[in-house]
Symmetry: none
Subunit: 199 residues, 4 copies
């Protein structure tokens, strides 16, 4: 997801060892899960992966980018399932969000990750295009399907819905309680579907 930092002519010199790549990612996930984001240092990751720090810095520019790539990889390929109804689709979407954010590594990494991304303008931009944009287009797909079914009228406030759903999920996972209620997805989806009812 995050691209290689430099593309030095592609095929000159020794190629990067993919086993090193994966050892680093695995070590990162393990450390974040065990010790939390703050206590995870690049040096510790390298040591656990059996590499030098340079091998890490050669691929990622810092802890935030490394952890982001290590922890959030399944998300990309989310295919936005079609359950036959808007409420069902949104419930599935929120369940996917909840599932992703509730995974041990993700839950441990999220707050610190958000803080680091928020602090750096470059990372801020990056997370918007890599996380927010796909989510928004996924939502747009869902609403397009609903419009074809005749469930909604034309003008749906996609941005507002995104704020609401993603915000609620993050808020719940990050602040309220570590254990997310299993029925939360359905209740949130229901609230939103009724809420956007265009009269």
């Amino acid at each position: 997801m995050v691209k290689p930092m430099t593309l030095p002519d592609a095929r000159r010199g020794r190629p990067r060892d993919s086993r090193v790549h994966e050892a680093i990612l695995t070590a990162t996930v393990d450390l974040v899960t065990e010790s939390g984001y703050a206590a995870t240092s690049i040096g510790a990751v390298a040591a656990r992966a059996g590499t030098g720090k340079d091998a890490v810095y050669r691929r990622w520019s810092g802890k935030a980018e490394l952890v982001y790539e290590a922890v959030f990889t399944a998300t990309e390929s989310a295919p936005v399932p079609d359950t036959g109804s808007l409420t069902g689709d949104l419930t599935a979407l929120v369940e996917a969000l909840l599932h992703e954010f509730t995974a041990p590594a993700a839950a441990a990494a999220l707050p610190g990750l958000l803080a680091d991304f928020a602090a750096d303008p470059g990372l801020r931009t990056r997370i918007r295009s890599h996380f927010l944009a796909p989510a928004k287009s996924g939502l747009a797909d869902v609403f397009e399907r609903a419009a074809r079914r005749g469930e909604t009228s034309s003008a749906v406030p996609v941005d507002l819905v995104l704020d609401t759903l993603a915000g609620a999920v993050f808020f719940h996972v990050g602040l309220v309680g570590e254990s997310a209620a299993p029925e939360l997805a359905g209740r949130l989806a229901g609230l939103v579907v009724r809420g956007i009812e265009v009269r």
Copy 2:
């Protein structure tokens, strides 16, 4: 808000200088606003305030608590205004939230603050009782008034509404854009009022 860390016999020896207290808080707000949460160190705060680091540690146990107290002080006394309608009340409540989180120092401090609080079980508990609980009781008041007016039936999912409103506000401010749309509060309140299914 955060109490003095120890109460050594109450009144023996030299009392704490309140000017030091305020100099530290002012320096904290300034530094957070100028440089961000991560780049704000206790040492820098002390230097800017013209004090020693001990004067800080004597009053607060760490950066998170210091910044929390320095940045979020107006919130407490939020009186929950009565606008005459549920939608109006919720709009006012969200506007207050937005106003608080959009202030320069707060916006700069929030993500890092949340990360530090999330990482520490003790702080996690503290923020729940000092921030979440008042918000929840505020919301409960609003809904009680609405019930008296006959606007809502009995069972209102207060927790869900809190997740939705606070989550959406934080998500919007923290991730989507620094400039919050002014109509966001009304739209959010409308969505929620319709969404909690009372017709």
Copy 3:
């Protein structure tokens, strides 16, 4: 010999702990003796001394200055003994030089130390005033005594003698052999005394 790096108002704040000072110097001498100059790192010195690296950098600006002070301390107070004859005085002087340079720590440190000093203009200047100048004045004293005894005429090339004696000692110790012949001092002194004979 090498002065403290900064004199921060002398009596403000916590004073430096002299036990730390000595622990560092001891650790330095030990490490240089055991592992050599190149293999002696600031970090290793600090670890062996049971301090942090800062405690070292606070007092010395680098390895060269630290090792110099740790290894060469007895030299300063060399009082230039009066043996009654020029040859005797010079022999004693060379013997002192030999003794100092042949000590385990000194022999291990000398070449690397000289390299580092030579590479840095500031250190170069420093070593001249702290090492060369005292040696020169010591030699000058010896020759003044000799002149009073009538052993030498007026114009003695002190610089040349210094080059010869110190150079020969260093060359012998550093390059020729680790074991310095015990009669070297006398032979060198003899050569010089005859050599400067002003006809």
Copy 4:
């Protein structure tokens, strides 16, 4: 001078490119002259020479050997001139030494080189046979000629003279001043000739 590290069956595969060899030596001399010995790294030499680091390591075992060969090449063939007198011969010899050690690259490289050689027993041995031995035999020749002329008696302390002359030259160049006095050679030679007691 320093031999190639391995002779792999003499002539199998592609022969080494002599232009690479010279490019490396040139780059080494340039870098040492410009930046000093310590700041000269194998990587920098390779980059400057337009080669890879392996091309360097294939020919020399490390920085010390590389710089030694790059900087000291003219010395070998020193033919020990016959000026007709012992003093003249020694003056010429010292002048040659001074000339060699005062060259920009040599002066920049010497201290660091000596340190590296001193630290490694293998290199120590090597420098003795390649530098000390020839110098000693050159001196021996000079004194043999002097004996044939009747200028000296039999037992001349060649080792002592070598220590004195070479030591004084190195000491003067390396520590005292970058600018060597032009009359130094003659004064040193005079001192030694008088000092070796032959009247």
